[in-house]
């Protein structure tokens, strides 16, 4: 992590060596005022982030509902719940949906904001650019509940605008009930995601593009390079480090195919064979069927694979010279 080194430091710790150990305690107590700033945060993170990590041990036990959360009263069962998941009839569907949905989101949702940023960068009418930006940020600020409501309303068989449009241009004769047809679910889900985040996602790339040295474009102009060539040969290579960093993060999230969006867009159980992913599966078996240990094990399985993916992506990125840590 790069740290500011320009700041002058007044209290340089230059105490003599022998008393150093005792000094740590004394110095710690002496700086109680700044320690008091960080300890509430440390405690809160301990309770709400580290205690649940300890709680993953539930996945290696048979959780008994009546004993509550006291972990040592439960029986250790090793990897029982993990192998149960691997042998469960849903395993194949859940894994396939998770991988397909997250790959689709990655392949379509990741480049979309970059392309939008490249397009916006070509716009010279500032007013037009600002209006487009403001409008495309709008969906980002709406909750998934609202977005799912809007999607449902657009695709509705009664008076849904999409059905009206498709009927007007004679593509269909009768309204199609898109929201209950498994074959459309992935397209709807991915479109809704791109629709929601494309504008907001482009902010970072626009800023990176703004940092490109303008003289390179001027030189390219003189050489007669077309706009398209300039984007391809100047803009994209310059913003590559930013793209790579966001790509690493996206790869680390590959098993997070989505949660809120899927839960809300696939309320109809008919869609389950195509909509069930690890996170929604954990939610359902854990919180609706109360199989706490089993659901914890499934969740842990996902978290471990995610860390593996992230480490791998970072390793590859480091080889190319851009890494996260």
């Amino acid at each position: 992590m790069p740290q500011a080194t320009t700041k002058p430091q007044i209290h340089a710790p230059t105490q003599p060596e022998p008393s150093r150990k005792k000094n740590v305690v004394v110095r710690f107590l002496k700086q109680w005022d700044i320690q008091l700033m960080v300890w509430p945060g440390i405690i809160l993170i301990f309770v709400f982030a580290y205690l649940p990590m300890y709680g993953v041990l539930t996945g290696f036990m048979d959780y008994k509902i009546n004993t509550g959360a006291r972990i040592f009263e439960n029986n250790w069962v090793g990897f029982k719940h993990f192998s149960m998941f691997f042998n469960a009839p849903e395993f194949y569907t859940v894994m396939r949906n998770t991988i397909v949905i997250s790959l689709l989101k990655f392949l379509i949702g990741f480049p979309a904001p970059i392309i939008l940023a490249l397009m916006l960068n070509e716009i010279r009418h500032m007013m037009f650019k600002r209006v487009v930006q403001t409008i495309t940020y709008l969906p980002h600020f709406m909750s998934w509940v609202i977005v799912a409501g809007l999607v449902g309303s657009m695709l509705s068989t009664e008076n849904g605008s999409i059905n009206i449009l498709l009927q007007k241009i004679n593509l269909i004769d009768d309204p199609v009930n898109f929201m209950s047809m498994p074959e459309y679910f992935w397209s709807i889900l991915i479109s809704a995601n791109v629709w929601k985040e494309i504008g907001f996602g482009s902010i970072v790339y626009l800023a990176a593009i703004a940092g490109v040295d303008q003289s390179m474009y001027e030189a390219a102009d003189i050489d007669g390079a077309s706009k398209f060539k300039q984007i391809y040969l100047i803009t994209i290579p310059t913003i590559m480090p930013v793209i790579v960093i966001f790509m690493i993060l996206a790869i680390g999230n590959l098993l997070s195919a989505g949660f809120e969006d899927i839960l809300l867009l696939a309320e109809n159980p008919v869609l389950r064979p195509v909509s069930d992913v690890i996170d929604t599966y954990v939610y359902r078996v854990g919180l609706s069927n109360f199989r706490y240990s089993y659901a914890t094990a499934v969740g842990l399985f996902k978290a471990v694979i995610s860390i593996g993916l992230l480490t791998m992506a970072n390793y590859l990125a480091r080889k190319s010279g851009n890494s996260l840590w």
């Binding site: 430091q9 945060g41 709400f48 403001t134 909750s143 509940v145 809007l150 605008s161 309320e267």
Partner: protein, 298 residues
């Protein structure tokens, strides 16, 4: 600017067309819902309402805003947004300022401790069991306390604080100002833009959250508007909605035949989004900056 080459002009036409279509698609679903919410329900059900209300009415809003449960949901949403964001921003800013201190003993260990939680977590079920055993179920505090510290926001705050001129702090120290005094009298007053950005993001996530209430809250009086809206929309899809709509609205539907569940749902949706939609364009320049501070850090 020189005259554009032929190929470049084609590209510009494509880009403008695409951006106009994209903006239209971003706005239209929202606009259509707004139109339906202002259209007479009975007329909407005849179909074909798209860009403009055909039979303008305020009655959908009248019903939504007179529904005690929905109003209570709004109050809960406002309360958790205001209390939750203010408390979270304050706690996170204090933590971040402490973490900027070079003399802070254990600083590097603390940093690793915080950052680790960005990559690994216990997951849904252990968190659920924890919240339950802490007795936070069915309390207002389940919205506030677990969300007090955001490591991500802490890092953004810390980066911003470090960028402030060091001389200000030094001179305040010489004048005998304590560290807490410096934080509240000098650092925070100079941090307007970053506070505005993070407060906006935190407020949006509080306002938009429906999930926490859906798993931790059974008490109807504590449900925020988004969770209620989800129940209404859900009922619309799975079963006949009018059975699941609250009794007050149902009674009114019985009495006034012009109202439909669709127009009521749309009006509720508008009420639940408008606060954000009205605010975000005005803080746009701040959050663009905030996103950048965040991404520079990476």
């Amino acid at each position: 600017m020189t005259r554009l080459a032929f190929g470049d002009r084609i590209m510009h036409i494509i880009i403008y067309t695409f951006l106009i279509l994209l903006s239209f698609s971003a706005l239209y679903p929202f606009w259509n819902a707004l139109v339906i919410s202002f259209n007479l329900g009975l007329d909407t059900s005849k179909g074909g309402v798209t860009f403009w209300p055909r039979v303008f009415t305020l009655e959908n809003y009248e019903i939504v805003l007179n529904d005690k449960r929905l109003v209570n949901g709004m109050v809960i949403s406002v309360a958790r947004t205001v209390v939750g964001s203010a408390a979270a921003i304050l706690m996170t800013a204090i933590l971040a300022y402490g973490m900027t201190k070079r003399e802070l003993i254990g600083r590097n260990v603390y940093m690793v401790y915080f950052i680790f939680t960005m990559y690994f977590g216990g997951g849904l079920i252990p968190t659920f069991l924890l919240i339950r055993s802490l007795g936070l179920m069915n309390t207002f505090w389940v919205f506030i306390i677990p969300a007090l510290i955001s490591v991500w926001n802490m890092i953004i705050f810390r980066t911003f604080f470090r960028g402030l001129p060091a001389g200000l702090e030094e001179s305040a120290k010489v004048d005998g100002c304590s560290n807490w005094g410096i934080l509240f009298r000098i650092v925070l007053p100079l941090s307007g833009p970053v506070i505005a950005t993070l407060a906006l993001f935190t407020a949006v996530s509080h306002w938009n959250d429906w999930f926490i209430a859906s798993i931790y809250i059974n008490n109807e009086k504590l449900l925020p508007i988004q969770t209620m809206l989800r129940q209404i929309l859900n009922a619309n899809i799975v079963t006949d909605m009018s059975n699941n709509l609250d009794t007050a609205s149902q009674a009114r539907i019985e009495s006034a035949r012009t109202i439909t569940t669709k127009s009521l749902t749309m009006a509720t949706m508008m009420v639940a989004t408008l606060p954000i939609v009205l605010v975000y364009p005005f803080v746009q320049k701040y959050f663009v900056k905030g996103v950048l501070i965040g991404s520079l850090k990476e």
